[in-house]
């Protein structure tokens, strides 16, 4: 984060934003901002990875001990990276659990299980039960009330051209909580970029490239954004309090883009631009996944961002047909509620395909040399889903897989079993791994304190 964005004026704006968007009584957990220091050598990075509708536990769970374990069918594609995995069993999502100190949130959980847990997964918060912005059947709810952990960590390490990068692989239509997992602040979801062409353009044009035309475009963009910022600043005092928070968020987004446009030349060669094709089409999913993974790895390897997420598919009950794996007229969500042998075998194929995507991302990151290793050693990928068991929406034993490394700060090559521990503990541990040592609880649903035991 650049210095001017951490100015007191912006902190005030942020508080106003929270107050305006999420109701007066609800404020984000107070996270003290440490001064970003120059990390020795390569920076540590974080990538959150998501796929919908859980896993089949029987074909997912490794067997063996902490350091001597065997991967099951689903995770088999990761076998060659076994010493760079940290598999966690026994964590539970608890979007229904609410902190005693927050009576406003006690009661019927908002949204369906897929919807509320998508917002809950990385933020440890629930959906706003006091908003009627969205409805599912008879219940009304609003956006999630938390900040996702990647965004909190980006406060500290998001010092690159992109403070954070949200990537999607068919992340779904309808800008609503079931399809959004990353929150910049309570009530402020960030949309993933689902088009490889558009992602490439964001990453590698305008701010980069040496041609006179590209330089002209960069200058034009800066001059225009300057004027737009001035307009926004003149507008702010004239609008209502709630709206001034929107003006501030818009200004903040512009500042981020301006920083990017001013950043120095590329650290590595620009990859070939993908062609424009229908990135939303069902059967294009493998191609989109391949391109998005490569672009994401390039963004990390080229130093464009330190914090990213990749969202596979969507949670408005996935209608994806995995035609490239097997023939079936039932889409993923429909299959996920069926437990006969045929469905279980097909579901395992789906989840195995997702594990392959993680392996592909790891392979790409490993291709960027850094120090004595590669970018993979300095990038911690955290992979999970919104439910654990898709048949009944259960969220105990959520399938957390950590992959890559945290620059040596986290011992990989382990399989840890916990006894029904809230996943907020893991969110706290992640904060600690990235230098936010003061964080002891994370998210509105957190009823405990401290990091995961025997983890770091």
């Amino acid at each position: 984060m650049s210095a001017h964005r951490r100015s007191p004026a912006v902190s005030v704006a942020r508080r106003k934003l929270l107050a305006g968007l999420a109701g007066s009584a609800i404020l984000a957990p107070f996270v003290p901002l440490l001064q970003a220091e120059t990390l020795p050598g390569a920076p540590k990075r974080l990538i959150l990875m998501f796929h919908p509708h859980g896993v089949i536990r029987d074909t997912w769970l490794p067997t063996g001990t902490v350091t001597n374990f065997t991967l099951s069918k689903t995770l088999e594609p990761l076998n060659s990276f076994k010493d760079k995995l940290l598999i966690l069993d026994g964590l539970r999502l608890s979007a229904e659990t609410t902190a005693d100190s927050d009576p406003a949130l006690v009661g019927e959980p908002s949204g369906g299980p897929h919807t509320r847990n998508t917002s809950h997964l990385w933020s440890g918060a629930a959906l706003d039960p006091n908003s009627s912005l969205f409805s599912r059947d008879a219940t009304k709810f609003g956006w999630g009330l938390g900040t996702s952990i990647d965004q909190t960590i980006a406060e500290r390490i998001g010092t690159t051209a992109f403070r954070s990068l949200e990537v999607g692989v068919r992340p779904g239509g309808g800008n609503a909580p079931h399809n959004r997992m990353i929150y910049r602040a309570p009530g402020q979801p960030l949309s993933p970029e689902g088009s490889p062409k558009a992602l490439f353009d964001r990453l590698f044009t305008g701010g980069m490239g040496g041609s006179a035309l590209a330089e002209q475009l960069r200058q034009d963009r800066k001059s225009i954004l300057d004027l737009v910022s001035a307009d926004l600043q003149r507008l702010e005092p004239r609008v209502a309090r709630e709206d001034s928070a929107k003006v501030q968020a818009h200004l903040e987004a512009i500042r981020a883009i301006e920083t990017r446009l001013s950043s120095s030349a590329a650290l590595c060669a620009t990859p070939t631009a993908p062609t424009d094709f229908d990135a939303g089409a069902n059967d294009n999913m493998p191609m989109v996944a391949d391109l998005q993974i490569k672009l994401l790895a390039s963004a990390i390897g080229c130093g464009l961002t330190n914090v990213a997420s990749i969202q596979f598919d969507r949670n408005e009950n996935s209608g994806t047909l995995f035609n490239w794996l097997f023939t079936d007229t039932r889409a993923h969500h429909e299959l996920s509620h069926i437990s006969d042998a045929d469905a279980l075998s097909k579901l395992t194929q789906i989840y195995t395909w997702y594990a392959k995507q993680l392996a592909a991302l790891m392979t790409q990151l490993a291709a960027f040399p850094e120090g004595s290793g590669s970018a993979l050693d300095n990038t911690l990928i955290v992979w999970c889903s919104e439910v654990a068991n898709p048949h009944n929406h259960q969220t105990t034993n959520s399938p957390f897989v950590l992959a890559g490394g945290a620059g040596g700060a986290l011992k990989m090559g382990r399989f840890l079993s916990y006894d029904n521990v809230q996943h907020n503990r893991l969110l706290v541990s992640l904060a600690h791994l990235f230098g936010l040592d003061a964080v002891q609880s994370y998210g509105k649903t957190d009823v405990g304190s401290g990091p995961l035991t025997s983890f770091i």
Partner: protein
């Protein structure tokens, strides 16, 4: 402070700059309020602003490609700087939906001048002006500067903006802006004169299409995946034909027909094209006049709910679902959404057993008492659609077994009871007070881009309902009654943000 939705952005750019580009894939996705796209609450992030930048660049490149038609003046005659200023003043007023302020004019002209000084062409300078106008908050946000809290009568340009965005999904045209500047929109009569003009204009088609496709939840039809085994083959073209049929039909009823709510549910004739003729079991004529409806069999079809769009959008991949169809009738038409399924139940219907009808299959899941309480509301409405397959084709038997399309409506104010088939259901709905009230709420929240507030909007809602009843449930009059209401003419505080 609402941000333009993608349709409003695209229509405005088309109307003001003459640029028709498929921008919905360039702009970030819209937020939904209830059934309708409305960027009401969540603020923009970096991705949105990036997308606005790209969209503005695309539009500007296209616009300066036809500079002669874009400019209101001849730069050779007036001088380039003077023409640029005229262009900025006039185009800015249309895009900002109010005259540009001096500070804006000076700053934007400065952008033009420095580009020229640095050696840029006239066209480069105009391109910069288009780009900055399209990224300015005055364009992207519908700014209403009256203080929140106390209701305040909107200014002329503000109410003109609401009117054009409601009835055209676009910006005010010159005539509407003149009426605003002349103070004619502060009276109900002046506002109504303009509302009648706007609804009668061809631009009104966009709003009518957008309302009906979102209200009936059929807007994603062209993107749906269906079982390739179905006949005719479902593809994007057929999905689009289905969607267009309903949009065209509703427009025809409201603007060319008697405008009555009853007709929406009971007119059998409709607008058929391409493979849709196969769906309706009709021979494809050599020539189709797109303005004249095709006669469909009135014993098979009766208005919106029996059209292929509704029946296909609310079916599963390869077979029909009384649950899906029943839920949309309850939710969209009766404004009576059933409660969500209890936690930890299987929400997938029972797997089909060969030889079983759809009704027999769904009866099995209603035998579970946990499910029965709600499904006894949804399914018996959905059973009324038993004569229509997953693409909306009319069928008379299912695997050799006769169709039982008897159903029952429960829990309504005025139309409870048994019925037989979707024709009777549609007739029943067409005269229901609950449906009439629901229609008022749906159009009202579409017009305002927000959910109605039970307390604050109570008087307005009452007035609109009375006017709708007095017009014998004429939808044109419903739209005008909404325009006349206090909720439309006054600035109300933002939802969830009581000061």
């Amino acid at each position: 402070m609402r941000r333009l939705n993608a349709l409003q952005y695209a229509n405005t750019v088309k109307d003001v700059l003459g640029v028709s580009l498929a921008l919905s894939s360039v702009l970030a996705e819209d937020e939904k309020v209830g059934s309708f796209n409305s960027n009401l609450l969540s603020p923009v992030g970096e991705l949105h602003v990036d997308r606005y930048m790209s969209a503005a660049e695309l539009v500007a490149a296209d616009a300066v490609g036809k500079l002669k038609t874009l400019l209101p003046c001849d730069p050779a005659a007036t001088g380039e700087a003077a023409c640029a200023q005229t262009f900025l003043t006039q185009t800015g007023a249309r895009l900002f939906r109010r005259p540009m302020e001096d500070q804006e004019l000076t700053a934007y002209l400065g952008l033009y001048t420095s580009a020229r000084t640095a050696g840029g062409s006239f066209s480069d300078g105009i391109s910069l002006l288009v780009r900055v106008l399209l990224q300015s908050p005055a364009f992207l946000y519908q700014v209403e500067t009256a203080p929140a809290g106390a209701p305040t009568l909107l200014g002329g340009n503000e109410v003109a903006t609401r009117l054009a965005s409601f009835l055209w999904s676009s910006a005010p045209d010159a005539a509407l802006q003149n009426a605003a500047m002349g103070g004619q929109l502060t009276t109900v009569d002046g506002l109504l004169t303009q509302a009648r003009r706007l609804l009668g204009d061809p631009h009104g088609a966009s709003t009518l299409a957008s309302f009906h496709s979102q209200w009936l939840k059929i807007d994603r039809l062209p993107a749906l995946q269906k079982d390739p085994a179905l006949t005719p083959t479902f593809n994007a073209a057929l999905g689009q034909a289905m969607l267009s049929e309903t949009e065209h039909f509703a427009d025809w009823v409201i603007r060319s027909g008697d405008g009555s709510l009853k007709s929406l549910f009971t007119q059998s004739n409709s607008f058929v094209e391409g493979a849709l003729f196969d769906v309706y079991g009709l021979p494809k004529p050599a020539k189709v006049d797109p303005l004249i409806p095709v006669a469909l069999n009135p014993s098979e079809r009766s208005g919106l709910l029996t059209q292929a769009s509704f029946l296909t959008a609310h079916s599963h991949f390869g077979n029909t679902s009384p649950v899906l169809r029943g839920v949309v009738v309850l939710d969209s038409i009766l404004c009576k959404a059933p409660p969500p399924p209890p936690p930890n139940v299987m929400t997938i219907p029972p797997a089909p057993i060969p030889g079983e009808t759809t009704r027999e299959r769904f009866d099995r899941h209603r035998s579970d008492p946990t499910c029965a309480s709600c499904h006894s509301l949804m399914d018996p409405i959905g059973y009324g659609f038993a004569h229509y397959d997953a693409l909306g084709r009319y069928i008379t038997d299912e695997g050799g077994k006769p169709i039982d399309a008897s159903g029952e409506i429960k829990g309504t104010q005025d139309i409870d009871g048994r019925f037989n088939g979707a024709i009777e259901l549609s007739q029943r709905l067409s005269g229901s007070h609950q449906v009439q009230d629901c229609m008022v709420s749906q159009w009202f929240s579409f017009a305002l881009g927000r959910n109605l507030d039970k307390t604050r909007d109570a008087c307005s809602l009452q007035g609109v309902k009375a006017a709708f009843a007095a017009s014998d449930y004429n939808l044109r009059e419903l739209l005008f009654a909404i325009v006349k209401s206090d909720a439309f003419r006054y600035r109300a505080p933002l939802e969830g943000g009581a000061p």
